[in-house]
């Protein structure tokens, strides 16, 4: 509805930051972590802030509440909250503002919850201490608020401790707590990054609803363009401590103006577009540290359009005529994103179709992995109680052809990692068969032949915890070469250097220690080490989820390139369905230890879906606000793996159960329905019914970013 009258006082932004610079005092001077930030957020608006790590996003939020630590301070500029300048405010006044009018939600909910207090007491405290409300009234209000954040069984949650509820629920409690005081401004710093994609989708829906209901201004910090597209009305893109672009969310995704924004768009895989159009182009180089920023435009060393003026003169944040977009670039009008060509030296893998090979390298049949858990009763102490097992993997069967990639997706706790650990031999299989090149691999790694260990290597999610901090990069990579006697001793150094070069790291990295490397570089070393023994199969457990998008794109391309060159087979675990789609030929969807759907990637991402796959796909944040995505949400929480639901394990949460004439059939084991040879769905619902379901994602127009 057209606004009949806009009042002057309504136009005053809740948060108005002008020309902000934040500096940290360090030994020998000071570092300006954040410079020239200008933004405003009005009531009921949600302002997204995106950028790679180290770009100053969080510093910006901390400056608002003066949470900068002893050595940080606001050097220039003003931060106005409700028209009042916060810079230079005294501690007591700020403390009251933080309690009453500004609330924060951080990435890790356990940082905001006291593990030794009941959740109810923590929530009530907000009302009884600040507002002097009576205990019984506070209890009622808290339960009402918990219901608003869609907490199941709210009254009961009040009497639990934080560790007794799941991560997604913890985050809901934190959001409820933040909203209890009805704040005018809500600062959210990566609130869903640590959550599963299905839980994330529910929390994002919740944030959008609450924004409308409470008319709260939200500052939403994230690294994920998909999340920004879903929750924001306006977006600011930050790079190296500066805001390089500001626009409405539609404008930003339709026509990004700054070369950095365009680069970011090119390095995220998108669901919904077909595979060939979603080639990832990483941004070369990396974010400069605050004390090493170049003169002129901060982005010029990584920019494809750099000219003389960019190196000399720092661009100002200026508005583009006729739009609400602000950009910090001299030449943004001249840059046409559509005519962008990848640089010539960039190797884009994945474009050549792979050769069809029929040889099966890994075959798994009915693989099971149970963990014994001990109960606490007296009977259990004497070993007389009933034996209980966590059924981490149940009846897993699949084949992987040589030179192909199998992607495994699912929520956390679904048994993805256990499956991979069992294959590599870190866990001993409880039952079932697993054959690698015809050898039995159900035994543990210590019983395996060294030759076999050499052929199976692994890349881990967190390169930090898998590298010896006191070994140099060269030593780390040389170790498998020596252990497996891959080549004579005198050639080892040459081989390590060759590997480093193929990882695009260069010889100068040979003598560096892990702490001298960035996250992406560490992951490259991890991959080089896995490759050193020339394995036939590499198992990658979330190799890119801890990395920034631009680095992620580079690592994915690197893995694909390696696969093309060496013909290595890969098993790729990821919770990110867009990455998996881009990366894998075959995809396996797991839920609670059970494979739900297995087949070629193209077919998994199109109907007929397994109801669980459908729910997963509809939860993926898509970096395109115009994309239409169906809203299918799983109810409730993942049941315990000790006593999983009988029959189909999804039956307690299945959104499509009512499609069956007799829903009780779900309590029995479903059949494996074959869609095509090689594509199987584990569900009671007949395939013809499943085929009628519309695709989850439909993208209207051709994406400029592709």
């Amino acid at each position: 509805m057209a606004e009949p009258t806009r009042r002057k006082s309504e136009d005053i932004p809740v948060l108005d930051i002008e020309n902000l610079a934040v500096a940290y005092k360090v030994r020998g001077g000071e570092v300006e972590a954040v410079q020239n930030i200008t933004l405003d957020i009005k009531k009921g608006e949600s302002h997204g802030i995106v950028g790679e790590s180290g770009c100053g996003k969080s510093t910006c939020a901390w400056a608002i509440i003066n949470f900068l630590g002893a050595n940080g301070y606001v050097k220039r500029g003003s931060i106005k909250f409700q028209g009042k300048n916060l810079v230079g405010k005294k501690g007591e006044e700020l403390r009251r503002l933080r309690g009453d009018q500004i609330a924060m939600v951080y990435q890790d909910p356990m940082q905001s919850l006291n593990p030794s207090m009941l959740l109810g007491d923590q929530l009530k405290e907000v009302l009884t201490v600040h507002q002097g409300m009576s205990n019984s009234q506070a209890e009622k209000d808290c339960i009402r608020m918990l219901e608003k954040v869609q907490m199941p069984d709210a009254a009961n949650v009040m009497r639990r401790f934080p560790h007794q509820i799941s991560g997604g629920q913890q985050q809901r409690v934190v959001i409820a707590m933040a909203l209890l005081n009805n704040p005018a401004l809500l600062l959210m710093d990566e609130p869903t990054t640590a959550l599963d994609v299905t839980v994330e989708a529910a929390v994002l829906d919740l944030i959008a609803d609450l924004r409308k209901e409470f008319n709260t201004a939200i500052m939403y910090i994230t690294h994920d363009l998909g999340v920004v597209a879903r929750v924001s009305t306006k977006v600011g893109v930050m790079y190296a401590g500066e805001m390089v672009e500001r626009a409405t969310v539609e404008e930003l995704f339709k026509s990004p103006q700054h070369p950095y924004t365009q680069g970011l768009m090119r390095c995220v895989p998108k669901l919904g577009t077909d595979r060939s159009s979603s080639i990832l182009y990483p941004i070369p180089g990396r974010v400069p540290p605050p004390d090493g920023r170049p003169a002129g435009c901060v982005f010029w060393p990584r920019c494809d359009y750099v000219r003389k003026r960019c190196r000399e003169e720092r661009p100002k944040l200026r508005s583009i005529a006729g739009t609400e977009t602000w950009v910090r670039c001299h030449f943004s009008e001249d840059i046409d994103m559509g005519s962008w060509e990848p640089p010539e030296d960039l190797v884009v893998p994945g474009t050549v179709p792979k050769k069809e090979v029929d040889e099966t390298i890994l075959e798994v049949k009915g693989l099971k992995k149970y963990y014994r858990v001990r109960g606490n009763s007296l009977k259990d102490v004497f070993g007389m109680g009933e034996k209980q097992y966590v059924k981490a993997v149940e009846h897993a069967s699949f084949k992987v052809p040589r030179g192909k990639t199998l992607g495994i997706v699912g929520e956390s706790g679904c048994g993805k990692s256990t499956l991979v650990k069992t294959i590599i031999g870190l866990e001993h299989a409880t039952d079932g068969e697993a054959r690698f090149l015809g050898f039995d691999i159900t035994n543990s790694i210590s019983a395996r032949d060294r030759k076999l260990i050499q052929e199976l290597q692994m890349v881990f999610q967190n390169p930090d915890s898998t590298m010896n901090p006191s070994y140099t990069v060269g030593q780390q990579i040389a170790r498998p070469l020596k252990r497996f006697n891959v080549m004579p001793k005198e050639k080892i150094t040459d081989e390590v250097l060759r590997l480093l070069r193929s990882m695009r790291l260069g010889e100068k990295y040979y003598d560096r220690l892990p702490r001298q490397l960035s996250g992406g570089e560490k992951q490259r070393v991890g991959i080089a080490r896995a490759l050193a023994s020339h394995p036939d199969l590499i198992l990658c457990d979330e190799p890119v989820s801890a990395l920034d998008v631009s680095v992620q794109a580079a690592i994915i391309n690197l893995l694909l390139e390696i696969q093309e060159e060496f013909g290595t087979t890969l098993i790729f675990i990821s919770h990110d369905l867009s990455v998996t789609r881009f990366f894998s030929e075959y995809v396996c969807v797991m839920y609670l230890g059970q494979i739900m759907e297995l087949g070629p990637a193209e077919e998994i991402y199109a109907p007929p879906y397994h109801p669980y796959t459908e729910a997963l796909l509809s939860a993926v944040p898509i970096p395109d606000p115009t994309a239409k995505q169906k809203r299918v949400r799983l109810q409730g929480v993942v049941p315990s793996a000790i006593a999983p639901p009988s029959g189909c394990r999804l039956n307690t949460r299945c959104p499509r159960r009512e499609m069956l004439p007799d829903p009780d059939i779900c309590l029995t084991d479903p059949p494996w329905r074959e869609v095509h040879p090689g594509h199987h769905i584990y569900c009671h619902i007949p395939l013809d019914e499943l085929r009628k379901i519309d695709p989850v994602v439909s993208i209207k127009e051709v994406n400029h970013a592709g």
Binding site: M1, A2, P4, T5, R7, K8, S9, E10, I12, V14, K43, Q82, G83, K84, E93, R96, G99, D100, Q101, L127, V129, H130, Q131, G132, M133, Q137, N181, N182, A184, F214, N215, T216, A217
Partner: protein, 219 residues
């Protein structure tokens, strides 16, 4: 249509330790005429309005120009504000017409909206006028028709039936007793229809006892 749906949420507020100089400049900066004064947990402590800031010269200890400056700069909001017990407030669950009545009866321009003792919003005369505009859907293209009809049951229904029969869309409607003639009732209807004003006038005039008093197009 309750106060909580139409109040200004997250109003501008003051602390009781703010100086009156600060209060005065804050008021003009954010373009409001009333500022609730709150304590811990946004509990209402008082209210500052333009009038409370007009300090009687007689209440000052000295009229020496230099003394006044010093005196005023040290003066805190809590000294001059209307204390919470004297502030007329409205609960967030009240109906908006009740809020309007409160303002008329007490001749005041604003009402702090409370939930318990906590300030959750402000309702001003201006807010109510904004809602009146919204209620009557101003600034949308359509035909605004004022109809005078007998003040007895069933007459509005006749008008509705007539409009519905023509297939016109009703955007909004409002009515009240005719102030000059207590046997009649004035109703205003906004309709969207692809017809001329004359046609509308003619059609409505055909209803017995109904008369179009005014008709105009709105943008």
């Amino acid at each position: 249509m309750l106060v909580k749906d139409y109040m200004s949420r997250h109003p501008f507020m003051l602390e009781e330790d703010s100086s009156i100089v600060e209060a005065q400049s804050y008021m003009s900066e954010v373009h409001v005429r009333h500022l609730p004064v709150v304590g811990d947990g946004k509990r209402l402590l008082g209210l500052i309005t333009r009038e409370t800031l007009m300090i009687e010269p007689g209440s000052l200890d000295s009229l020496n120009v230099w003394e006044i400056t010093r005196y005023l700069s040290g003066m805190k909001v809590k000294k001059i504000m209307i204390k919470a017990r004297d502030v007329i407030t409205v609960d967030e669950t009240a109906a908006i017409e009740d809020a309007a009545l409160l303002m008329i009866e007490n001749k005041i321009g604003c009402l702090p909206v409370l939930s318990g003792r906590v300030v959750v919003g402000m309702m001003t005369q201006e807010d109510l006028l904004v809602q009146l505009c919204r209620l009557l859907v101003t600034r949308r293209p359509g035909l605004r028709v004022s109809v005078s009809m007998p003040d007895k049951p069933g007459e509005t229904k006749k008008l509705m039936a007539c409009v519905e029969k023509q297939g016109w869309e009703i955007q909004s409607m409002g009515g009240m007793p005719d102030l000059r003639d207590d046997t009649r009732y004035s109703t205003m209807v906004k309709i969207i229809a692809d017809v001329s004003m004359e046609d509308v006038q003619e059609t409505i005039n055909q209803i017995e006892g109904h008369e179009v008093r005014d008709i105009r197009e709105t943008q």
